[in-house]
């Protein structure tokens, strides 16, 4: 009888913690690892060592922006890959709906359609981004990256910045 009661209370606590955790990660903020070097040097500069081993950055993803999908230039966002819904990518927004963007691939300017955005990695030489798959719907965005939270020597806010070469490309 005693063990049953203990088991029940454990299951109850476990369930409550799970529900609260899901609520917080969906509505407020979550932590996600960064893989790959497409956002280097802002994220994963490739030189971070923790106890002699190179390590990936962990970032804080803020979810409040999903209430109205308002973003500004230079926001770093997490979004579902348009070609694979199970995969998530981190890139920087460089153009918002209604703006014109220059593409090297087509040697042409392109208008970002309504409800879409143009995303690019900071490390343009090794980044799969809007330059290859075009503008993405804002509905795919899952959150905005605000801080690096791990490893300790990299903790800090991520600044919003416009890539310098936008003007020259236009």
């Amino acid at each position: 009888m005693g063990t049953q009661k203990g088991l029940w209370s454990f299951a109850n606590k476990f369930f409550t913690a799970g529900v609260l955790g899901l609520y917080i990660t969906d509505r407020f903020a979550s932590v996600a690892p960064v893989r790959g070097s497409s956002m280097s040097p802002t994220l994963n500069p490739g030189t971070t060592k923790l106890m002699g081993l190179s390590t990936d950055d962990y970032v804080l993803v803020e979810k409040g922006c999903l209430r109205n999908y308002k973003f500004s230039h230079g926001d770093v966002v997490v979004f579902r890959s348009p070609s694979n819904h199970k995969e998530r990518q981190i890139k920087r927004i460089t153009a918002l709906p209604g703006e014109w963007i220059g593409t090297r691939r087509f040697y042409d300017v392109l208008k970002v359609p309504e409800g879409h955005c143009w995303v690019e990695g900071d490390n343009s030489s090794s980044s799969m981004d809007s330059r290859s798959f075009g503008p993405i719907p804002l509905g795919l965005v899952q959150g905005r990256v605000t801080h690096v939270v791990w490893p300790p020597q990299r903790i800090g806010a991520i600044e919003r910045r416009r890539p310098q070469d936008t003007i020259s490309r236009l």
Binding site: T16, V19, L20, L22, Y23, D26, R27, N68, Y69, F79, R80, S81, P82, S83, N84, H85, K86, P113, E114, G115, H116, I136, P137, L138, G139, L140, V141
Partner: protein, 161 residues
């Protein structure tokens, strides 16, 4: 002093249980079922013009179980704050033949749905803004599958595929 402590304790307990309740509501709504008020003419005759309440289940799209014929709730590609209900007609790699409603000469076009995308169309082809106009949409925009109609009473039951 003792009375204050009791009041504070009660307030604490109340707010904790309220937070738990809100969290449970959120999890049920975004991982199990959520009610949707369907309106507009694009899904006639499956849904009425206004006021149909439909339950959408929010599990199968997470496991990639959406199949052609399902009525899905999709975040509109041209407005992320809006949800639209459409029917899936093609998955990635499928060949779709359609008539672009905007073209003057109603030629039939054929296209292949690219990787990770779905082709969605409204049941009322005359008044629907869908993949025929804006092309295939990424699977990641799917938010749920409409499966059960609650209102009106004469339509009570499962939504047919």
């Amino acid at each position: 002093m003792r009375q204050w402590r009791r009041v504070a304790n009660e307030a604490m307990q109340f707010s904790v249980s309220t937070a738990k309740f809100i969290a449970l509501l959120h999890v049920t709504d975004s991982y199990l079922f959520s009610p949707i008020l369907a309106h507009g003419s694009s899904m006639l005759p499956t849904f009425n013009f206004s006021g149909d309440v439909v339950l959408a289940e929010r599990l199968s799209h997470r496991f990639g179980r959406v199949v052609p014929g399902d009525v899905v709730m999709v975040r509109a590609p041209d407005d992320p704050n809006m949800m639209v209900g459409k029917r899936v007609l093609g998955m990635e790699g499928d060949k779709v033949t359609f008539v672009d409603p905007a073209s003057i000469r109603q030629y039939r076009k054929t296209t292949v749905v690219p990787k990770g995308h779905v082709w969605i169309q409204g049941d009322n082809t005359k008044e629907s803004f869908d993949s025929r106009s804006y092309g295939p949409v990424p699977y990641g925009l799917i938010q749920g599958r409409a499966f059960f109609r609650v209102w009106p009473p004469n339509g009570f039951g499962f939504v047919d595929d």
